[in-house]
């Protein structure tokens, strides 16, 4: 899923005629000062990160004058908000809000059609409202072939109660426009939380737009990079690089996510960061379960499945090994029909390029486990190319379990650490 930042989402809203506060994206104090000449005070200064609950996380400030604006910009730029660095701020006019409401269109997997959602409780987490006050959430299924019209929105809003007819007319209009955003940009979710009733009508104070990954090839105007879903943070450059591997080649997949991009979690928890490639997501989880109690933390998750071609293994190995924090690497396959000699060739080519001086023998502890189709050939290839002779690599075959693999890695790591003192 590709999630847009607030300012990108608001640009789409604006294109579709949904009013948003006048705003500017800035990346420095100077730019903020220029922006204020056009906007005027008071303004909201909002960190452009993907995480939700930005208000609670201190990612939204308000400024009444140049001093407080300058202070807010300095405070927010470069700050980490729930693991994401703040690289841009949206400065926008502060609206005089009379009421805050919630409106969204999303996909409902249970009915396999879009659903319109409205709640008079805006500005708070909708999941929280669903838990505490389910009666405050109103939904309507949308027939995607028929579309969503003004009177459909009115039918929904009439059930809410407490809305004046003038407000209902405004909101129904915006609801159909929000549906247009959802359809036009192949969204999984188009959400306004809160939508504010103001003197002139209504406006979107926030924007959350999640675009379906599978549609990105035709959403060329959005100019967003595809990457695996990584929760409420922007994709890292390495994840974006990894996602390009599958871009033009359908032969097998490599799904790569950085579980701990800067290894800060691993270090805080006293764990040793390692890189991981698994053939089969289940095997990936199993080996993680075995590694963590032994003191290791895979700072990436990778599932290379569906019989990827050798070139994909080559590329993903280079991506995994590019993580500067790793002090070890594991390749672990499940028992499957996947042609593992192809995997082995990809790994061997990558290792030989990364370690040209030693002919591919790594300088950190590495364990590769081949179980499945052509596993014996895969093991032989590592031997033939002289990589298995390396001091810090173990190439294992089909009679090894995940638990044993983790233990073998642990023993190898300890030996490496004792003998070399670790990486400089």
């Amino acid at each position: 899923m590709a999630r847009l930042l607030e300012y990108q989402g608001k640009a789409l809203f604006k294109r579709q005629g949904i009013p948003v506060p006048e705003g500017r994206l800035v990346q420095s104090v100077d730019e903020a000062m220029n922006a204020i000449d056009e906007l005027g005070f008071p303004v909201a200064v909002k960190a452009q990160v993907l995480s939700g609950r930005r208000g609670k996380a201190g990612a939204i400030h308000f400024a009444e004058d140049r001093d407080s604006l300058s202070q807010a910009v300095r405070e927010l730029l470069g700050k980490q908000i729930q693991g994401s660095p703040v690289e841009g701020l949206l400065i926008e006019e502060k609206a005089e809000v009379q009421k805050e409401l919630y409106m969204a269109v999303t996909a409902d997997p249970s009915t396999r059609q879009p659903v319109g959602i409205f709640s008079p409780k805006g500005g708070v987490d909708i999941e929280e409202t669903a838990d505490t006050e389910p009666a405050a959430i109103f939904t309507t299924p949308i027939d995607i072939l028929r579309g969503f019209y003004y009177y459909d929105a009115m039918d929904l809003l009439r059930q809410v109660g407490g809305l004046e007819s003038r407000e209902m007319l405004t909101l129904a209009n915006l609801f159909t426009r929000l549906y247009q955003v959802y359809r036009e940009y192949d969204c999984k979710l188009a959400e306004i939380n809160p939508i504010a009733l103001v003197e002139q009508g209504a406006m979107a104070l926030d924007a959350r737009v999640d675009v379906d990954d599978d549609a990105l090839s035709r959403q060329t105007t959005l100019d967003i990079d595809f990457a695996e879903e990584a929760g409420e943070r922007a994709a890292t450059l390495l994840e974006i690089a990894a996602a390009t591997i599958d871009e033009s080649d359908h032969r097998g997949t490599v799904h790569f996510v950085q579980t701990d991009p800067d290894a800060s979690y691993a270090r805080t928890a006293g764990k040793i960061p390692v890189g991981l490639d698994a053939v089969g997501a289940g095997t990936g989880l199993t080996i993680m379960d075995e590694l963590v109690p032994l003191g290791y933390y895979p700072i990436n998750f990778c599932d290379s499945s569906g019989n990827p071609v050798g070139s994909k293994f080559y590329r993903i190995t280079k991506v995994i090994m590019a993580q500067p924090q790793i002090e070890g690497y594991l390749f672990v396959s499940c028992v499957s029909s996947q042609q593992l000699d192809n995997a082995a060739r990809g790994l061997i080519k990558a290792f030989k390029e990364l370690y040209p001086r030693t002919g591919g023998q790594p300088n950190i502890p590495c364990v590769v486990l081949f179980r499945g189709g052509w596993d014996d050939v895969a093991v032989d290839l590592f031997r033939e190319h002289g990589i298995s002779d390396g001091r810090w690599i173990k190439v294992l075959g089909r009679d090894t379990t995940e638990k044993e693999t983790a233990e073998i890695f642990d023993a190898l790591y300890r030996e490496w650490k004792k003998e070399t003192g670790g990486l400089q």
């Binding site: 450059l237 070139s311 994909k312 080559y314 280079k318 590019a322 790793i326 060739r345 080519k349 400089q424």
Partner: protein, 107 residues
């Protein structure tokens, strides 16, 4: 320099220096490429490797990118094959990273 060069599906190139192939006794790349489960795109023509399919077909996926030709040529031939497989944006990442990857560091 006489060379056979072609593009592959994933976005990369395979280049074979045919001058080196002339003296090669094994022709390991052709044997490898024609082994069961492999791409089967190479054949011998006038004593050197040649493509069995058009460049377009090879690029569309006839080459299965198993990398066997390059690795076997390295072991049993004259090191005539270079497969170049760029990873888009990986160089950007490495350039912008404040720390060097571990393969460039010494334990």
């Amino acid at each position: 320099m006489r060379a056979l060069e072609f593009e592959v599906r994933s976005g990369g190139t395979i280049r074979i220096d045919l001058e080196k192939c002339e003296s090669c006794e094994t022709k390991a790349c052709v044997k490898m490429c024609n082994a069961t489960g492999m791409g089967q795109i190479l054949e011998l023509k006038d004593g050197v490797p040649a493509l069995k399919h058009s460049l377009e077909e090879v690029k569309r996926g006839a080459c299965t990118e198993d990398l066997g030709c390059e690795l076997d040529c390295e072991l049993y031939g004259n090191r005539a094959i270079v497969i170049t497989l760029p990873v888009s944006k990986l160089d950007d990442y490495l350039e912008n990273s404040s720390e060097q990857p571990t393969y460039l560091r010494e334990p």
